[in-house]
Symmetry: C2
Subunit: 349 residues, 2 copies
């Protein structure tokens, strides 16, 4: 297993990112921790392991279970297993499992050890780095959470082998987002040139893509570890639209699809506000379409009140107005408040 | 209102400590925050205010309510009041209210603003500084929590005026603990010389005592903000015994009384292990007795299994053995593992 990156976060905490050759490689690594561990899995990720670890909890999969009840189950079972402050919580699953395990580990005796082993592409490129932990609460996505960086993240491409293509493509939405935020067009070109291999989940190309994507994320979070300087919030490009759509739809659509849609809407808004030309907008929309995303979806007139209400619950609300991340160009995000009429113009059918 | 101290904590966060002349002074200060606040009180502390703040929740008082249900009530009501990340949570109450509000504020959208206004002496000298937030969970005291320093702490002696003497004396246990941990004997002498004024709650002496006590705490927490270096855990002098007693008694005894008892047991253990002479032990026991604490209480033979079981849940467990803070002298704490027989020798009737 190879350490490829170290990311320094809040309180000087460091997250080491490892790329493993295979799940067997991962197992050898985690075995070295001995008995003082506590695994959190869901019934999907559990199938990837030869056996369920002794000290563990297996949760139901899905965003609807990313709630306070599941959080309490994790903490309660960790306690039953005799976990202490020096116990290492190991999350083995997608974003829901990783976000909840990280939150539980941050709360458990005010902070236990934490290893994240993402089993979805979305989680590899999005949830593992940056220390954001969360559960959903009363319709508010990630409304309850902490900042608590994992000590280590382990990426192993073969965890994705049983992932439905729809889930895989969810992660690609975030990768494309990172391409728009990158300081150069390297990731953008990589995505254009390697489309087939990426969609075929070629192991080497996959690791390369995840690595490049995490490098972009690393840059933003190291500059603003607690999201207090406005820099890190640029990683929310497309997300304000996306979260409102997910909330309105009761999380029946996937996060990645919502983000890809939101990315399209952010490009549209950036163009309408005169920040970018139609060339960059169309290039972005084409890339999203090439990867099979539905950028043409619009909110119906009947649904718009519930969409606007979901928007108003957004965490990025400040002094009453909601700010959106828009683009002046590749790698040039900015924050801009959009009034309700501007939002409707962009999302309405 | 006068700023007397600034304490630098995890992530470079700074807690400013203010001493107010009166509650009226406090009200003027908090009014300056306008509408973007959310107050958390209990039905005891609420009586100190002329009216209940508009955006607020009033909880039932007492340690039995320091649980996940109350935590959820705070978050849920904050959400109903339209709170956002830039909302300031204001805790007005004792340690239970301050600890829970701080935890809720750390979790709310991954961290809202936080002002603590302690209304008990225990909370003034113990819970407000250092960023420890908590709820109890399944018999484990403060088992779930985060590190999240308050932006500001406001001390006003008149908040204590309606406090029963029993509650007031709870805080004195922590002050005496700080006297044992202080690098000089200034606080120890202050406590001996001002016993009457302290017990009469003279405002000026009280502020002076709280200030001196917080200076001791400041020294330990700044040297070890996340309790990872072993220094900060010295503040747990007496607490390992105390927490087990509280847990065994179902939190029917007060934290301060438990701490005073635990302090006596820690002095006894330090003497039995040959770390201190009988002189210092007796001086400590006498000071505790002079302030009216029952240092002679012992665990009955029937209760000892439940006491030992409560001990085994202690957060300071590491590699299976429980470490106790003992003393080599005033201001010279150290960590030492005690085996079960040694513990029983010290606590058994």
């Amino acid at each position: 297993m190879e350490k490829k990156m170290s990311v320094t976060l809040a309180s000087g905490n460091i997250t080491d990112v490892y790329f493993a050759d295979s799940l067997k490689d991962v197992s050898l690594w985690t075995a070295s921790y001995g008995e003082n561990v506590f695994w959190v899995l869901d019934s999907n990720s559990a199938r990837l392991l030869e056996s369920i670890p002794k000290k563990s909890i297996v949760l139901e999969p899905g965003e609807v279970h990313k709630n306070i009840e599941s959080l309490e189950k994790i903490i309660s079972e960790a306690l039953s297993c005799g976990s202490a402050r020096d116990t290492r919580f190991i999350a083995f699953g997608g974003g829901v499992i990783c976000d909840m395990t990280a939150l539980a580990s941050s709360l458990y005796m005010r902070g236990a050890g934490l290893t994240l082993i993402p089993t979805t592409l979305l989680c590899m490129v999005d949830a593992t780095l940056g220390g954001k932990t969360a559960i959903d609460y009363k319709g508010g996505k990630n409304l309850v959470g902490t900042f608590y960086p994992a000590g280590e993240v382990i990426i192993s491409a073969d965890t994705l082998s049983t992932l439905p293509i729809r889930e895989y493509k969810c992660g690609l939405g975030e990768v494309i987002k990172h391409a728009f935020l990158s300081s150069d067009d390297g990731l953008m070109n990589f995505l254009s040139e390697n489309r087939e291999k990426i969609l075929m989940q070629d192991d080497q190309v996959l690791h390369d893509m995840v690595y490049r994507s995490l490098l972009v994320k690393k840059e933003f979070i190291e500059a603003d570890p607690l999201e207090t300087r406005g820099i890190r919030s640029f990683l929310n490009l497309g997300h304000t639209f996306a979260h409102a759509l997910e909330s309105m739809e009761g999380y029946r659509i996937s996060h990645g699809e919502a983000v890809a849609w939101g990315l399209g809407r952010a490009l549209e808004a950036s163009w309408r506000k005169g920040l970018i030309g139609s060339g960059l907008k169309n290039l972005g929309i084409k890339l999203l379409n090439d990867y099979g995303y539905d950028t043409g979806y619009r909110i119906s007139r009947e649904s718009i009140p519930s969409f606007m209400s979901a928007l108003s619950k957004d965490k990025k609300k400040s002094n009453g107005s909601i700010k959106f991340v828009l683009l002046k160009g590749i790698g040039e995000p900015l924050l801009m408040a959009l009034d309700d009429d501007s939002v409707k113009e962009i999302v309405l059918a």
